[in-house]
Amino acid sequence: MLKQALPQRAWTAIAIVAVIALALVPLLPGAVDSYAFSFLFFVFLYAIMAQGWNLVAGFGGQISLGNHAFFGLGAYTTAILWTGNYLWGSLYDSHPDIYYFDPVTMTLGGLVAAVAAIIIGLPLLSKLRGDYFALGTLGFGEIVKVMFINGGDFTGGAFGVVAPAGTFDTLLPHYLVGLGLMAGVGVAIRLLMRSRYGLALIAVRDDEMAASANGIDVLKVKVSAFAGSAFIAGVAGSLYTYYIFHVGPDSVFDLDWMLLPLMMTVVGGTGTLLGPILGALVMYAVFDLAKIVVPDYHPVISGLTIILAMLFLPKGLMRSFAGRARAA
C-alpha cells in the first residue's frame, strides 16, 4: 500500500499496455466477428466478477458465496427497467435504443445489488463470522432466486424477462464496455486499497479484534466492502443482459456466476490486484478449451486444473510470478 517495489511498477506498465492493446483489437480486420472476440468479452465479464469477489473476500477476508445473487439482481434490474420502460418514458419511443448500454440503467443494476447487500449484510456481518457468513450468503442467493421465480408478472416467473433483442447489432459495444469496466474496476480498487479505507479493510482481514481496538468500525468496513462487491457484480449482470437478452432465474442466478469467479481469483491470487484478471483469462481459457476438445469431460479437466493450481501455486499466479507476496 504505502511502499512500492519495482516489480509492481512493472506490473502496472504491463496492465496499461495490455488494456491499450486490447482496445485496439477491434481495428483488426475480421476481429469483431471472430470467436476470439466473444471469448475475450467473456474473459472481461468474468474478470469483473472476480474483481468484485476479490474485494470482499480477498482484501476484506469475508468469504461471500452470494455474488451470483448480486449478478442476477443487476441483470434483472436492467431487463425489468428496459421492458417496463420505467426510466425514460416517452424518450423511449423516439430513441428505441435508449436502454441499450445506458449508463443510468447499468448503474441502477449495480445500486440495486449494493442496497440488497447492505440489507442482508448488516444482520449477517454483525452476527456471523467466517464460514457461517459464507453459508449465510449462500442461503441468501437461494432465497433471491426463489423470490424471482415467484415474482409473478413483474419478474416473469420461472421463465424470466426477455429484453428487446432486436437492438443487438455487433459484439463491439459489449467488448469495449467490458474492457472499460474491467480496467475501471481495477483502477478503482487500486485507488481504494491505497486509501485509508484500504488500510482499514486489510486491518479487519488480518485481525478484527485489533482493528476494533484501534478505532476501526469493523461492521461498517465489512458491510461497505460487501456492498462494493455487490455493486461490481450487479453492473456485470447488467452487461450480461445486453448480451443474453433473456434473463431467467436459472441462467442469471446460476451458482457458476459465483463459483467460477471464485476459482479464477484463487488461481490468479486472492488479495492481489491483477490476480483476478489473470485468473479469469487462464481459467476461462481452460474451461472453454475443455468444452471444445473434450465436451463430455470438461468439468473434469477444469476441476483438475484447479487442483493442480492449488497444489503447485497455492498463493496464486500473481504471487508466484511477482515473487513478493504483497497485497495491492
Partner: protein, 245 residues
C-alpha cells in the same frame, strides 16, 4: 486525588459469565499520568477487567466513566477514539502489513481527530519504541519482542490519555524486558499518558510503578504503593496461600 483529575472511574463493576463471577464490585479510579501495576494470580480477572474497560465485554453491573462521561456499553472502536488504547496478552498485529502501516491504523482511525498529521504521528511512535529501522518490514517477519513494541507504538499513535498494557513482557528474555521497561517509562514521560499495566513479573511492577492494584478471585484486595502492597497480608495470602493454623 481530586475528582476532576480522574481519567477513568470504575464504579462497582461486576462481570459474570453464567454463574461464574469473574469480577465483583470493582472500584478503581485512575488519575492523569499515573503508572499503575495490576497484578494478581492466574484467573484473578485481570484480562477480563481490560476487556470490560475496552468494551469487548459489557459489565453485568456497575458503571465505567471516562473523563466524567459514562462509557458503559460504548462500542470498542469508540472507546479507542475517546482516548483509551490497549495491547493484547496474545500479541495482535496486522500480519500482512508493514510495521509502519500497523501504526498508521492507530494514527488514522484510533485518534478520533486528535492526530492531525497521521504520518508524522506514526513516525514519532515508531521512534519512541525504537523500531524506526524496521519501518517497512512486514509484521509476520518480526520477533515477538518487536511485535509487542509495535503494538505499543500503534496504541501510542492514537494519542490516548489512558494506555492499557496486557502483559507486555510475556515471553520476552531479560534484555528484551529491560528494553520494554525503558519504553514504558518513556511513553509515560514523553506522551503524558496514564498507564494501567497488567504483568505477571511482579518484581518489574514493584520497581517501576508508583501504585499497584491487586486482584484475586475477581475482587480488588489491595491498592497502594509497592511498599504497602508487599506488606499487605491479603496479598501475601493470595500469592503464597493462607498460613497453616
Amino acid at each position: 486525588m481530586q475528582p476532576d483529575d480522574t481519567l477513568l472511574h470504575l464504579e462497582a463493576v461486576q462481570k459474570r459469565f453464567g454463574g461464574l463471577v469473574v469480577l465483583n464490585n470493582i472500584d478503581i479510579a485512575i488519575g492523569a499520568n499515573e503508572l499503575i501495576g495490576l497484578i494478581g494470580p492466574n484467573g484473578a480477572g485481570k484480562s477480563t477487567l481490560f476487556n470490560v474497560i475496552t468494551a469487548l465485554y459489557t459489565p453485568t453491573q456497575g458503571r465505567i466513566r471516562f473523563r466524567g462521561r459514562d462509557i458503559t456499553g460504548t462500542a470498542p472502536h469508540r472507546i479507542c477514539r475517546l482516548g483509551i488504547a490497549r495491547t493484547f496478552q496474545l500479541v495482535r498485529t496486522f500480519l500482512t502489513m508493514t510495521a509502519f502501516e500497523n501504526i498508521m491504523v492507530g494514527a488514522v482511525y484510533g485518534s478520533g481527530g486528535r492526530v492531525r498529521h497521521a504520518t508524522s504521528a506514526a513516525q514519532d511512535a515508531l521512534e519512541l519504541v525504537g523500531l524506526s529501522a524496521k519501518r517497512d518490514i512486514r509484521t509476520a517477519h518480526m520477533t515477538l519482542s518487536d511485535r509487542r513494541l509495535l503494538e505499543i507504538a500503534r496504541a501510542v499513535a492514537s494519542s490516548p490519555a489512558l494506555l492499557l498494557l496486557d502483559e507486555p513482557m510475556a515471553g520476552l528474555n531479560p534484555t528484551e524486558i529491560q528494553r520494554m521497561v525503558d519504553v514504558i517509562r518513556r511513553v509515560r514521560a514523553e506522551k503524558g499518558v496514564s498507564i494501567l499495566w497488567v504483568e505477571h513479573k511482579v518484581d518489574a511492577i514493584m520497581k517501576v510503578c508508583s501504585r499497584v492494584i491487586v486482584l484475586d478471585h475477581g475482587e480488588k484486595i489491595a491498592d497502594g504503593t509497592p511498599r504497602e502492597i508487599v506488606a499487605n497480608r491479603k496479598v501475601i495470602e493470595a500469592y503464597l496461600g493462607e498460613p497453616a493454623a
